[in-house]
């Protein structure tokens, strides 16, 4: 196995952070438990029917993405909203930065948007003097810590209350107690003031409805609801695949999303908004901008990875994954962690940077089983490994010779038996306590994390004839 040093450094760092590992294990365990209870209440058969329906809906949309995008754009424009089509992250960032300049925006409040993390929007806006504040509690905590999210739906899962109190005390005039209720109370008070002085609001998009141009936002805290009510100018950033035909399809997705993410029947606040307020209305945005981002998504259409565009970002695959549960989110490097991140990062950011994430899996398939829209994540991870090997021929000449030798040896029984006899005879300098304990690289790498038993005195195929004779006698 070839792992890039950067990934190794990242997961080694993660493995040494015991507080983080404990928090991630606890958090993912709870979320998995809550999801299981929710599914039990629905009934396994009905749950499977929900998943089948959701998969069919998403497949249809992705294979007709051009039509639905066209319909969505026309409806948003008709409703009075502006639309920016951004092929790259830079185009999206430029559009929003220019808008902030034009509006002379000082205070920008954001609700959770993974795409905005993906395109590095906050640093660009901060650079031009805007005060950008994340309003989702978890996002705000990691913003204060100067970190990136470690989980799609619980971004600050890796922090404990004492660390959060330290972060809050750095922006508070009075000392905040470490009780969780007090910490949340402080966040409410502090952020409420910011909400009331908002110049531009920026939200993500859970689903856009093509037939009405409505944007759906799902938050348990209500922050996205407040932002879309109070922002004079509202910007919604969406990955171009986050479309559904209409309201009926939305009900299926909302039912699956909440249960898969947190085990709730529905997220507390689900908002459907068509953008600009009517003339007689007093709240809601006067100006609405929908930024539709491609940034590598269109390249997946028509490929064996197309189904990754079905993702509804519920985070369920993270909680199911034994690797994620043992290393947390930051080890994955880019903004999307866990199995979904291990697939998305190399596809969107390049195999050269993130190809090694295809090895951050046990290929157990738990992610695929957990996915509400039935994305075959573990098959994709396996395919990515193949692609990586094809692309890089990682071991070069040495690996080539090794595999050719291996294949020649295993091609005939006599060669195989001869090689085993030789290996058994000459393995003794490498053996300790019946295990292969030493070896040259890359075997030494492999041995660092795994046990390899020494070759036994007799193999099964050598014992079998004797047993067979005994049986016959």
């Amino acid at each position: 196995m070839h792992i890039e040093p950067s990934f190794r450094k990242r997961y080694h760092k993660a493995l040494s952070d015991t507080a983080m590992l404990k928090a991630v294990k606890n958090g993912t365990g709870r979320l998995r438990g809550q999801r299981a209870t929710a599914i039990e209440a629905v009934g396994t058969e009905r749950w499977m029917a929900f998943r089948d329906r959701a998969e069919a809906i998403r497949l249809h949309v992705i294979q007709h993405l051009d039509q639905y995008l066209d319909q969505l754009i026309n409806n948003v424009l008709k409703n009075g909203g502006h639309v920016c089509l951004a092929k790259t992250g830079e185009e999206a960032v430029k559009y929003i930065s220019d808008l902030a300049k034009k509006k002379n925006a000082k205070t920008i409040l954001k609700s959770k948007s993974m795409v905005s993390e993906e395109i590095h929007l906050n640093p660009a806006l901060e650079k031009q003097g805007c005060n950008v504040i994340e309003s989702d509690l978890g996002e705000w905590i990691i913003q204060l810590a100067g970190e990136t999210p470690s989980h799609i739906i619980a971004p600050a899962m890796h922090k404990n209350r004492f660390q959060v109190a330290d972060l809050f005390n750095a922006v508070s005039e009075e000392k905040i107690p470490t009780e969780i209720a007090d910490l949340c109370g402080f966040a409410r008070k502090y952020l409420r003031e910011k909400f009331l002085g908002i110049d531009i609001g920026i939200t993500g998009c859970n689903f856009a409805l093509a037939d009405s141009g409505a944007i759906t936002l799902c938050t348990n805290e209500g922050n996205a609801r407040i932002i879309s009510a109070l922002s004079p100018t509202l910007v919604t950033i969406m990955g171009m695949e986050r479309i559904l035909p209409g309201l009926e399809e939305l009900t299926v997705m909302l039912s699956l999303l909440a249960r898969s993410a947190t085990g709730q029947k529905l997220t507390v606040y689900n908002t459907l908004s068509t953008g600009v307020r009517n003339e007689e209305e007093l709240d809601g945005p006067q100006e609405f901008h929908l930024v539709i981002v491609d940034n590598g998504r269109s390249k997946q259409l028509g490929t064996k990875y197309e189904k990754i565009l079905n993702c509804i970002r519920c985070g369920s695959c993270l909680n199911a994954c034994p690797v994620y549960r043992n290393i947390g989110g930051h080890a994955y490097g880019w903004v999307y962690p866990g199995p979904i991140g291990a697939v998305l990062s190399p596809l969107y950011q390049g195999m050269d940077k993130y190809g090694e994430l295809a090895y951050a899996t046990t290929l157990c398939g738990a992610c695929t089983f957990a996915c509400p829209v039935k994305i075959p994540l573990h098959d994709m991870l396996y395919a990515l490994r193949n692609d990586k090997v094809e692309l890089e021929k990682t071991g070069g000449v040495v690996e080539d010779i090794t595999y050719k030798g291996w294949s020649a040896t295993f091609a005939t029984m006599s060669r195989y038996r001869f090689s085993v006899r030789m290996a058994r005879r000459f393995q003794f300098p490498l053996v300790k306590a019946e295990k292969i304990a030493y070896g040259p690289p890359p075997i030494s790498d492999w041995l660092r994390h795994r046990d390899m038993p020494a070759l036994p005195d007799k193999f099964f195929h050598e014992i079998w004839p004797e047993m067979d004779n005994d049986r016959k006698e």
């Binding site: 051009d66 639309v83 009405s212 507390v268 606040y269 459907l272």
Partner: protein, 239 residues
């Protein structure tokens, strides 16, 4: 309303998408006819069945952390509202400009309490109403349609007098509705929306299932981080 503007090269944006979309050997996945079929309860309900739905809603709503009251008449309504005013020590409340709430004459109920109540709009200009709205301790809304299975208020901003600000800014939310507003779940909501709006949806619709919640610190459930912390459902008999 004036049409919005499009930025970016529409042709270039779409050309990659169209080039890359392929038709798989079996053909493209067809649109799912009736996506909700078999997944959600679909039925017309009788008055008696809606009594059961009320019980179901109360169970869900209270599990989520809300409080619910079954109310027979206006006298009981006044008693419950006064109890909430007392419980939450309310001074200021605002309510939707909604014909059903108008019929309930909320001002009269509030008149012999410590609290005042104002109907939306509080002021005409943003800078004037925003401060006033932020100072309100309770928002009172009419539940146009309510889902029993999930304990969800569905609040379309059907007119300018029914903004989402009233249901999300104050720390206390009071939703009033009759059992006639109760449906099982999404099937009833979609039917209501199709009949009333078609694809011409109101500017905003808010679905609220219980109080604002977060588990962002140590996965411990904490109520009321941004939206309402105290949520009350006042369910009137439909007769």
């Amino acid at each position: 309303m004036a049409e919005g503007l499009l930025a970016g090269d529409r042709e270039a944006f779409f050309s990659t998408i169209r080039q890359n979309i392929k038709t798989p050997p079996g053909g493209k996945a067809p649109r799912v006819e009736n996506p909700m079929n078999g997944l959600f309860t679909q039925r017309e309900t009788t008055v008696e069945e809606r009594q059961d739905l009320r019980e179901r809603f109360i169970k869900e709503w209270t599990t989520l952390g809300g409080k619910a009251f079954s109310i027979k008449n206006r006298v009981e309504l006044a008693q419950v509202i006064k109890q909430i005013i007392q419980e939450r020590q309310l001074q200021k409340a605002m309510y939707w400009d909604h014909p059903e709430l108008e019929n309930l004459k909320l001002e009269e109920i509030f008149s012999d309490t410590q609290a005042s109540v104002s109907r939306w709009p509080l002021e005409k200009k943003y800078n004037d109403w925003i401060g006033k709205a932020a100072a309100m301790e309770a928002g009172i809304v009419w539940g146009d349609i309510v889902m029993a299975e999930t304990g969800t208020l569905v609040l379309p901003a059907s007119s300018p007098g029914q903004p989402s600000t009233v249901c999300v800014l104050p720390i206390t939310l009071i939703a009033i509705f009759t059992t006639a507003q109760l449906v099982d779940g999404f099937a009833g909501v979609v039917k209501f929306f199709k009949e009333r709006y078609g694809t011409n949806l109101p500017t905003t619709t808010t679905f609220i299932s219980g109080p604002s919640r977060t588990t962002d610190i140590e996965m411990v459930l904490t109520i009321g981080v941004h939206g309402s912390r105290y949520v009350y459902a006042l369910i009137l008999d439909e007769a």
